[in-house]
Amino acid sequence: MSDTRSPVAYPEPLQDLLDTFATFDDPSERAQVLISYSDSFKEVPPEVARRPFPKDHLVPACESEAYVWAVLRPDGKMDLHFAVENPSGISARAMATMLTKTLSGLTPAEIATVSPEIVERLFRQNISMGKGMGLMSMVGAVRTLALRAQGIEQKPVNPLACPE
């Protein structure tokens, strides 16, 4: 079984999810669970956004044309919402559902702990060439929004860029 210890302490719902996925040795079992998350994807409600979705909510480098919104509640917690326009965006919808289920409703500080490294831990051999980049970009976009809610502006980071 792989090491599920995170470089930082993730919020409990996300850590529980990662621990669960760490138990999947069978690729097909992992695939079925990811597909079930994709099946339960719920699109951004109309009171938050309607089509055509504004481009400033478009997740960069995501070929599934995913959009993300972060809505701050009066109690200081944050809700996450997504849209995935590509009908074949199975992986993107699965990622959106998992991010929503584990992070939505937490504080921005808690949400901002998420890291693109969770993509490999969730998708493993189900990451195809382009998908990995897009999925990491979705996670990065969530983190950026959570940091922005705290007044911290972060320059978008290419998760695959070589260190200078």
């Binding site: 097909s28 994709s38 070929e63 199975i90 992986s91 189900n126 382009g130 980049m133």
Partner: protein
């Protein structure tokens, strides 16, 4: 069959969604789905289709090479195919991985193969039946010949000879990859080669220009002639080598040139830019 389709050099290599829908219970046909996204098949596929994954099933797991004869025989046995089985390939992304699988199958001489025109996109857009049930197949005994790398596959030194002799090369990557501005397709990790640019003398014809984007079907023979022959000056009477980054997009172009336009001598350089752009001393143009 449409007039446009009947003008293809080998029109029987393409099958329509309508035709395939009526053949799903034909035991002599085996449908294969091959995608970029490995989750797609499990999320729904043409009923009875087998899944062939390009990384796990078609590539050697240690060396950068394709499967051996034994590996191909095992694959065919797994999907219950015999040399007499008609294989129909389809997949996502305008059938680019379907044509890749088709090309690999030709290395082993399984010529009884077709491409579903329009691929997964067209099938889904037409609201045709999809299934999540993974079919089981009775294993077969399949005797394959040794892999033939001489006819439709090109290697680095052969391509260098083409450059030196000013032969015909087609670079099917995006314009930014061709110019060296990017090392991979837009929205993909910008990595894979140390140098950007293209093989000297290569014409730039992005692979997806061969298909109609709204339904993934191949363009008409007249449109393909205009694209490859009139606009790029490709001579069908001379050999052509197509390449991309790892040989998957270029297999799509290989298919279009060979089967739809009837070019008799087309090879796919599967080492492609990940080899050429990383190799010491090979010439590059920008």
């Amino acid at each position: 069959m449409s007039t446009a389709a009947s003008a293809y050099a080998k029109p029987d290599v393409l099958v329509s969604t309508e035709w395939l829908a009526g053949q799903l219970n034909n035991p002599k046909i085996r449908v294969i789905e091959s995608n970029e996204d490995t989750l797609l098949y499990a999320s729904g596929h043409i009923p009875g289709a087998a899944h062939v994954d390009w990384t796990a099933d078609l590539n050697d797991q240690v060396r950068r090479d394709y499967i051996t004869r034994e590996g191909f025989e095992a694959l065919m046995s797994r999907i219950g195919a015999t040399p007499d089985t008609t294989i129909v390939f389809y997949g996502d992304k305008n059938n680019w991985w379907a044509t890749y699988a088709f090309w690999v199958f030709q290395l082993f001489g399984h010529t009884n193969a077709k491409i579903l025109n329009g691929g997964r996109l067209k099938w889904e857009k037409e609201g045709r039946e999809m299934s999540r049930e993974t079919p089981t197949f009775t294993p077969t005994q399949y005797k394959a010949p040794e892999r033939n790398d001489k006819t439709i596959r090109a290697f680095r030194d052969e391509v260098l000879k083409v450059v030196q002799e000013k032969g015909q090369l087609v670079d099917v990557r995006s314009p930014d990859e061709y110019s060296g501005k990017r090392l991979h397709m837009p929205d993909y990790p910008n990595e894979g080669a140390l140098r950007g640019g293209h093989i000297p003398g290569a014409k730039s014809v992005p692979w997806a220009k061969a298909v109609n984007p709204e339904d993934g079907t191949f363009k008409s023979v007249d449109e393909l002639k205009k694209l490859y022959i009139e606009e790029q000056g490709l001579d069908p009477s001379k050999p052509v080598t197509a390449y991309c980054r790892i040989g998957e997009r270029s297999s799509h172009t290989w298919f279009a040139l060979t089967y739809l336009l009837g070019f008799p001598n087309v090879r796919n350089y599967d080492g492609s830019w990940t080899e050429w752009g990383n190799s010491v001393g090979l010439p590059i143009e920008k």
